[in-house]
Symmetry: C2
Subunit: 228 residues, 2 copies
Amino acid sequence: MNEYPKSAMSTPTSDTLESQVEDLSGAAALDADRYQKKMQRRKEVQDQRLAQRDVEKGLIIVNTGNGKGKTTAALGMVLRSLGHGYRVAIVQFIKGAWEPAEKAVFDRWPEQIEFLAMGEGFTWETQDRDRDIAKAREAWEKGLEFIRNPEFKLVLLDEVNVALKLGYLQADEILAGLDDKPADSHVILTGRGAPAELIERADLVTEMTLVKHPFREQGVKAQPGIEF
Amino acid sequence: MNEYPKSAMSTPTSDTLESQVEDLSGAAALDADRYQKKMQRRKEVQDQRLAQRDVEKGLIIVNTGNGKGKTTAALGMVLRSLGHGYRVAIVQFIKGAWEPAEKAVFDRWPEQIEFLAMGEGFTWETQDRDRDIAKAREAWEKGLEFIRNPEFKLVLLDEVNVALKLGYLQADEILAGLDDKPADSHVILTGRGAPAELIERADLVTEMTLVKHPFREQGVKAQPGIEF
């Protein structure tokens, strides 16, 4: 068991893992010698591929779709960024509060993390559209400050797509704001129903698709540690 | 800005957010009074729904698909579980090492987290199938110990689906192992190509679908804080 990677060049990304599965699912049938030769060729291709990917840039990342894991995957990126010592800003557009468990984690990095929950809960809790719109605008103004500030290497605009979908904010103002992003910082925009213009503009877009969900199918309630 | 949720009952899950977007995208056209009435009705439905979901159970969670965010979303659940004070075990089946940034984060919870990187890197790095299989078996034995141990509320078997796809492990032994899971603990299985039997058995399955990827399309290399 090793605790550190062998080299930065061999940093395994899901991308390379995916290629591996594609290429190797037939490899189980090969004898040891042919397997080893196949792997040698595979390694040459892989090394060449990695060498060609030499661009460093801050990414615009969109996590959308009807499935789970949009905010959760963004939190995983927050975690990695904290581990690198980067400063991170998080703005929550819809919920009126941070989950206590997430807050308890973030509180261990007071010098690296800023988080703001600017919503007032769900629209059916507030039942007041004008106030919801005002809160969404306020959240976006704060988000824009963070985006423009080169000290923040990662800015998470959580559930901003929902605010767009509800008409609280307009896609063109978000796109204009993203123009102000420093070249090496990342912005993650989460939420179902990301508008087409945003997907067009983003560098990395993932759609989380629901295959099976226990809350609907089994009457299971939201579980601590999983949902919040 | 509030920092704590108003009540546990109103804990916003993506599930409720999704219903919101579905039901409310037409709400922008309503006048304030009709909007408020619509929201009142929506809240009654929502409260009733939450009241019906009263089952608590440990979940078998699968993150699969060709997109990004499978391991990353699992890390988000690890983060939340740590925030709740739960013990968490992570076994990495393919990579031979933990990313330094992830390790730096986990090192702030030495009393709550166990992590093991049991692989020896990519098959094209080792070029030795027998050793890869032995390592995957060893990883599974450790994973099984964690699954059976009721002290661990969350066990992450990272990239185990890849080990299954490559034929290093068999789905039936994984399913048999999941039978030993205590009723209230969660197991997350990540990786592309989850076998059908596992999907059938799982409670919560999300497919991460690649919409756009900068590494292929723009020659951008893996970015710290995002990929590792």
